[in-house]
Amino acid sequence: MRRTDKYRFYVILAALVVLQFSVRGRLGGDRVAPDFLLLALLIYTIRARPGPSAGAGFLVGLLRDALTPASFGAGALAHTLVGYLSSWSKAVFFAENLFVNGCLFFAGTWCRNLAVALASGKLKGGMLGWELLVWSPIQSLTTAVAGVIVLWLFGRHLAIRLSDA
C-alpha cells in the first residue's frame, strides 16, 4: 500500500465520523438512519488485525457510552466484540466482494445492537423483541447500504480488494 493510500484510508474514516455528527440527523429517524461511526469501525476492521480492531472497538464504544450513559460500558463491550469478531471472521471466512462486505456491515450492526441491548439489561420482553426484530434490522440494512456505497466509491483508496463474484 502506498503512503497516499494510507492517508486516504484515514481521511475516509474521518469523513464517516463527521457524517455521523452532521448529516446523520437528516437521514430519517434515529433508529433507522445508518450508523456511520460503526461503519467506520467495521471498515477499519476489514484491514486491521483482530487485536487493534478490538482496541478500536473498545475506544469507539467507550466514547458512545459517554453520550448515552444509560448503559455505560455496554457499548464498549459490544463494539469490542464486534470489532474483534469482524476482523477475525473477515480473515478466516469471508471472500472479498461487495455483497459479502455488505453482509458483514449488516451483521456487525445487528450484533452490536444485540450486545448493547443484552449487556445494558435495560431492554426486555417485547421492547427487546421490537428492537432486535424490527428496528435493528432496518438500521443494519441502511448501514450496510451506506457501507456498500462507500466501498463502491472509495474501495480503491481503502486498499480493499473487491472481486466481481
Binding site: 455521523q20 472497538g57 457510552d65 463491550l77 476482523s87 426486555k124 420482553g125 427487546l128 435493528s136
Partner: protein
C-alpha cells in the same frame, strides 16, 4: 495491505481482545460517582468538537426549517393583508398560540435533543444546554405537551436527560382534581403496554376514571406541581384489596421530541397546569 492467513488472531490479538473485554466489564460495574465524571470528561474533551458539530448541524437544520416557515408566513401575511379583519382574527389566534415558552417567562432554557442511534436512546439523551445556560441537576425537562424527564447530570454546554421511560424514573403524581396521589413510573418493557406509564400506590377505595389527566404533584420538591404526565387508560392491576395500579398513556413520547425546555427558575410554589392547558388549546 493484502489480506491473508497471517491475519488470523495471534496470541497478542487474543490478549488485546480479552483486555478490552475486561476493561468494558470494569466500566459497566463502575459506581456512579466515578462513571459520571469519566463520561463528562470524555464529553468535554474528545467528544466536544463532535458535539459542537452536531449542535451546529441541528441549529442549521432548525434555521432552514424556520426559514421555510418564515417565507410561508410572509406569503401568508401578504395574502392576509388584503383581508384586514381576517388578519386581526389570525393575529388573535397566533397570540393564543404563542406557546409555553412565553408563559414560562424567564424560568426555562430551550435545548435541542442530541440523539444517538443506540437502542437505549429513548431512555436517556443529551441536550444542547448545560451549566453555562443555567441548567442544574434534577431540573424538570418538559415539552409543550408535558413531562419528558429530569436532568441527570450537567456539563458545561450539554446535559444528560433521564426520560420517563428509564426503568429508574419515578415521579410523585396526582389526578387533576388532587383527589388521588401516587407514584408514576414506566410500566415495563413487555407485552402490548410497552411505552406506557403506571400510577402505583393508589388506595383501593379511590377509583380513577379512564381519561383522567395525571399531573406531577410537586411532593418531594424535585418536579414542580401541575406538569401533565399522561392520561389514565385502564386499571393495570390491584393488590389484594389494598391498592390499585393504573395504566397511563404518556403525554409525551421521548423518542419523538426534538426540542425541549428545561425549567431553570427558582422552585415553583404554584401550579403549572394552567400553562400546559393553554398550550393544548387550538384556535
Amino acid at each position: 495491505m493484502a489480506l491473508g492467513a497471517d491475519r488470523y488472531a495471534s496470541r497478542g490479538d487474543t490478549f488485546a481482545f480479552l483486555g478490552c473485554v475486561l476493561l468494558s466489564v470494569a466500566a459497566m460495574s463502575l459506581p456512579e460517582r466515578i462513571r459520571d465524571p469519566l463520561a463528562r470528561g470524555l464529553r468535554q474533551t474528545v467528544l466536544a468538537p463532535f458535539l459542537a458539530l452536531q449542535q451546529q448541524t441541528e441549529l442549521l437544520s432548525a434555521s432552514l426549517e424556520r426559514y421555510d416557515a418564515v417565507v410561508a408566513q410572509r406569503d401568508s401575511a401578504a395574502l392576509a393583508a388584503t383581508f384586514l379583519p381576517e388578519l386581526r382574527g389570525e393575529n388573535t389566534r397566533l397570540r393564543a398560540l404563542l406557546g409555553l415558552g412565553q408563559r414560562l417567562s424567564s424560568g426555562y432554557v430551550p435545548a435541542e435533543v442530541l440523539r444517538e442511534p443506540e437502542p437505549t436512546g429513548a431512555l436517556t439523551f443529551l441536550v444542547s444546554a448545560g451549566k453555562k445556560q443555567g441548567v442544574r441537576p434534577l431540573a424538570a425537562v418538559v415539552s409543550p405537551d408535558g413531562l419528558v424527564g429530569i436532568v441527570s447530570s450537567v456539563d458545561a454546554k450539554t446535559s444528560v436527560v433521564v426520560t420517563w421511560a428509564h426503568p429508574e424514573f419515578r415521579a410523585s403524581a396526582m389526578a387533576t382534581d388532587g383527589s388521588v396521589y401516587g407514584i408514576v413510573g414506566p410500566h415495563g418493557s413487555d407485552g402490548p403496554h410497552v411505552w406506557l406509564l403506571e400510577l402505583q400506590g393508589v388506595p383501593y377505595r379511590q377509583l380513577v376514571p379512564t381519561g383522567t389527566m395525571i399531573l406531577t404533584s410537586g411532593l418531594g420538591g424535585v418536579l414542580p406541581r401541575g406538569i401533565p404526565i399522561g392520561t389514565v387508560v385502564s386499571v393495570a392491576g390491584q393488590a389484594e384489596g389494598w391498592e390499585r395500579t393504573y395504566l397511563i398513556r404518556p403525554a409525551v413520547h421521548p423518542g419523538a421530541v426534538t426540542h425541549v425546555m428545561i425549567l431553570t427558575g427558582p422552585p415553583v410554589r404554584g401550579d403549572l397546569r394552567s400553562l400546559f392547558e393553554s398550550s393544548g388549546e387550538t384556535p
